[in-house]
């Protein structure tokens, strides 16, 4: 009986993996999209500031990306 339950739960592990990376990718995607949109807007308003906008944009988008990476690590650590 217990073994059956355990087996059934283990069978759901791939779904857990997919949910972990999929849900965290949604958040990161929204974040990076917002950052990119605002950066483009800023560059469009003030094209001379491209160099100044670019570096902070990349850094902040790496922060947003890190959230998805946490999900990825969790997804890999689910056996």
């Amino acid at each position: 009986m217990e073994n059956e339950v355990v087996n059934e739960v283990v069978n759901f592990a791939p779904i857990g993996k997919a949910l972990a990376i999929g849900l965290s990718a949604i958040g990161a995607g929204i974040g990076i999209g917002l950052i990119g949109a605002r950066a483009m807007e800023a560059i469009g308003r003030n094209p001379e500031a491209t160099g100044k906008v670019l570096v902070p944009m990349l850094i902040v988008s790496a922060f947003a990306e890190a959230v998805a990476i946490y999900g990825l690590v969790i997804a890999f650590s689910i056996k």
């Binding site: 850094i59 790496a62 946490y70 690590v73 650590s77």
Partner: protein, 288 residues
Amino acid sequence: MATNNINQIIEQPIHETTIYAEPVFHIGNFQITNSLLNSWLAVLVIIILCVALRLKLKQIPGKIQHIFEILLEGALSLCDQVTNDRRITLKIFPLVTSLFIFILVNNWLGLLPIVGSIGFVENSIFIPIFRAGTADINTTLALSIATVIGSNIFGIVAMGAWKIFNKYVNIKALGGIITKFRRDKNVIIVAPITFFVGILELIGEMAKVASLSFRLFGNVFAGEVLLASMGAIFLYILPTPFLFLEVFIGLIQALIFSLLATVYFTIASQDHEEHGEEEGYEKELAHV
């Protein structure tokens, strides 16, 4: 017997990308993992580079020295933007820059073609001899713990141990209940909240360690998995753009780690507590 051996050789060794670094050999009880080997390699590369540059140092710089001087100037001004103070910059710059260089070399060494593809087969599992040093949680955890503890030590040197201690376990605020109660009755509500904020600060310090280490480890490790899976789909041209992406991500992550370290050091060295507020209070009293 002979056929058995042949069968074993023909049998395809499995290589799973594991989340932990595989042990390559042991010295006594101490495991030498492939990530550790690679970080030693990184240290060796950095030492050779530094010695070569140091020996050729001249008053009138040559081409290579010029490039490094430009890089150094850029890094200094970037650090200045964060700290807003040249004196603090000059104090923390050596530590932060060496963190940057170490992480950068480690990230990029992990992308070399030899790394991860040369290894040996043990129990029909392929174990690579090298693996990017930062693709192991232990390396990044060590780096981030060292950074956070270092920032607190820097704060102690800059402001004194009592102030840093009060930042986390705010005895001063609790003591304020007794000393300030006559002047201001509100303190009995405010002081416990201030004390609790200090404990939150302590938890925040651990969160710093977790976020720093997991960000770096996750990015580098995910990059390795990405490259491996792209290579599995189609080996010849497909991984190239992702390889460039990984070079870029390696640079960005090294930059972010060292920039955040700078921010933590700067925060620790600044007296952000009610220092100004208290002075203002005293001034008000003087006016009255």
